[in-house]
């Protein structure tokens, strides 16, 4: 056993660090470091910067144009990007639909979509949840009816993140209403410009527009936009959810925010309060432990295909830690953090917004079900 990175890995870290520090525009960095939302252009700019370096397909194998990194390299990359304040990678294209297309898409689909994701030429969003189907995703009702060379799609999706920027949406739709819930679902790629699609903003409790509802009214989708086989969509959906959980612990971001917390709390004199200092220390310690746990899971993944149920451990602890840090950051500045106009810090708004972490991406309650049933066999 050796818990140190190898010399090669350390060299890779230096390369990433130097690149990020040289190429990340200071304006974007400042916004990230103060929990501000980024514009579409800012996201696109960063993705294109990575693409120019040959790192556009983060997490992708070489055969699809990715850098072909090991799990450790991927981890180092995300950590260094987070530390310096690079934007989160927009995962809907890179980490969700891309792996699905690589595994189940046709060669034509792969050639059509993957390069444009890497180059940030097309923005993707996700059409999974519906108003009546959250944790119980398989109960989804959006219908797709085959009509010659098209599917006609009707229904409603929700909790669609940044769909207001999207060119494409990947959707779970019901193609066989007679079959058992999981057996009648298909996986469709839909052009957001198709007539019949309406995007309505959902304003969240921090006042931001980050998520949307999307309505489909007689939306015509060419049959070549079906991924894999009809009625097999649930398999692809679960595969995607597994991949979504890579880097789910958010160690890099949590470490950056922990540094910020110690700076903010120190400046406010809060680290002289032994109770506050102890709470900060407790979270810092939990994060130290989770980093090792995360590396253990990564290391075990090397031999297997995709993250197993252990990812649920990372999801729960990772989100708890991020939420605790956000809470302590807010408390360190007290009611001053609640100023709506304080866009330079947003510590109150950030705390509010981070409550989503334990809800979205499979609620922490669902993750505990998974642990109890899949790992413990209860």
């Amino acid at each position: 056993m050796d818990l140190n990175f190898t010399a090669e890995e350390n060299a890779f870290r230096e390369e990433v660090r130097a690149f990020v520090r040289a190429k990340l525009p200071e304006g974007i960095r400042q916004k990230v470091m103060s929990s501000q939302h980024l514009s579409k252009d800012e996201h696109v700019l960063w993705q294109r910067t990575l693409h120019e370096k040959g790192w556009g397909g983060v997490g992708w194998p070489k055969e699809f144009g990715g850098p072909g990194w090991t799990p450790s390299q991927l981890y180092i990359f995300e950590e260094e990007c987070a530390a310096w304040g690079a934007p989160r990678l927009i995962s809907f294209g890179l980490k969700m639909i891309a792996p699905v297309l690589m595994a189940f898409g046709s060669p034509a689909q792969q050639q059509r979509y993957l390069p444009r994701i890497m180059a940030a030429e097309e923005w993707w969003c996700q059409g999974y949840s519906e108003p009546g189907s959250g944790s119980d995703l398989a109960s989804l009702k959006t219908r797709a009816v085959r009509d010659g060379s098209h599917y006609i799609v009707n229904g409603q999706k929700t909790w669609n993140t940044l769909g207001q920027y999207a060119d494409w949406i990947f959707c779970l739709v019901r193609t066989d209403p007679e079959a058992k819930p999981q057996r009648g679902i298909s996986f469709l790629l839909i052009d957001m410009k198709t007539p019949g699609i309406t995007v309505r903003p959902i304003i969240t409790l921090d006042g931001a527009h980050e998520v949307n509802e999307i309505w489909f009214e007689d939306v015509k989708v060419p049959v070549e936009n079906l991924v894999g086989e009809e009625n097999k969509g649930w398999t692809y959906a679960k595969f995607l959810l597994g991949h979504e959980r890579t880097n789910i612990a958010g160690i890099g971001i949590a470490k950056r925010e922990m540094t910020r917390l110690k700076r903010v709390a120190g400046a406010a004199g809060k680290l002289d309060d032994p109770l506050f200092a102890a709470r900060v220390a407790q979270v810092e310690i939990d994060l130290m432990a989770l980093e090792i746990t995360n590396l253990r899971v990564l290391s075990a993944e090397g031999s297997k295909k995709g993250p197993g149920p252990e990812a649920s451990i990372l999801k729960i602890k990772g989100t708890e830690i991020q939420q605790s840090i956000a809470e302590l950051l807010m408390q360190a500045s007290g009611m001053a953090s609640f100023q709506i106009a304080d866009t330079a810090n947003r510590l109150g708004a950030n705390y509010c917004n981070q409550r989503k972490l334990s809800i979205f991406g499979g609620s922490n309650e669902i993750q505990k079900n998974i642990i109890a049933q899949m790992i413990l066999g209860l």
Binding site: S129, G132, S133, G134, S135, D136, S139, T158, W159, I202, I203, T204, L205, D206, G207, V211, D273, L275, F276, M330, Q331, G334, M335, A336, F338, Q339, I340, A341, G348, A349, Y351, C352, R355, K356, S358, I359, F360, S363, N364, E365, K368
Partner: protein, 347 residues
Amino acid sequence: MDFDFNEEQRALEDTVRRFVAKDYGFDTRNAIRATPAGWSRNVWSALADLGVLALNIDEEHGGLGYGPQETGLVMNAFGAGLLVEPYLSGAVIAPALIRRAASADFQAEWLPKIAAGDAIVISLDGKRLTLTNGKLSGTLRAVPHGAAADLWLVAKDDALYSATPQFNDYPLLDGQHAADLVFDNTPAKKVGAGETATAFDIAHGIGLAALCAEAVGIMDATVAATTEYLKTRQQFGQPIGRFQALQHRMADMLLHLEQARSMSWLAAMRCTDTNVAERQRVLSAAKVVIGNACRFIAQNAVQLHGGMGMTDELIVSHWFKRLTAIEMSFGDTDSHLQRFAKLSRAA
């Protein structure tokens, strides 16, 4: 012992609840919140008509002569309705201070105006201000409703002053407004003297007890709404309230709520106690219990509502924000826990 409210108190509670239900719905409140001032003079007049602005003012000055218990009932209802008007500062704390620290002339002039809704007074702790040759200097940040006043009172060096600061008003995430108040050689007029520090501490304690009651009103509504949501929201073929893990979470929320309710009543009972240590001990204990409850209930109400709890459309996310703000107001949980530990050890 008697845990029941009397008929007069129940009638008051009914009146206020009816007002909130009928005239202060969620949409009305949000419309008021969207105005530049962030609160409504019309609502203030309506509150005067209801009599609730006269609650903490004695009868000889045009008031009703009620106390912290009745104030608690009103705050319960205003909490659930997320009232954005400066009731706590203007109709609870300020009259409590004026009754105890202002001259008879000042009381005779201002208390009737407050009771009638004709004046809003905001009281300030002068500890961080300097007073030189009758002039105040210094800045007070994030004063709740600091810009809503017709008159500002400053308790400083065992006397009470009125003074008019410059201010910078801004809205907060919880729907309330606050202001930074700037005194810059601002002339201060003495309007009372003697026992001012004690009077200020008691008035502040009365305010804290009222804040606790506001929190209980919100938590009551939040627990009820979350229970209702769990009964109606279906997943996996049944209401999610059938899932034991969520049932136990709700049970924990109820435990927090009932403990908070108990301490809110005790705080109302003891906030005017003349024994300083006992008064502060109970108030700190109340703030700790209520702070912990605010945090637990707010976070879990959002969690159990799932994505819906994250939206601006549901009142639950606004209760969440107000509960979060309350936990940080009037001294946060840690600071009261430590004050309690010190007082308890000395006792």
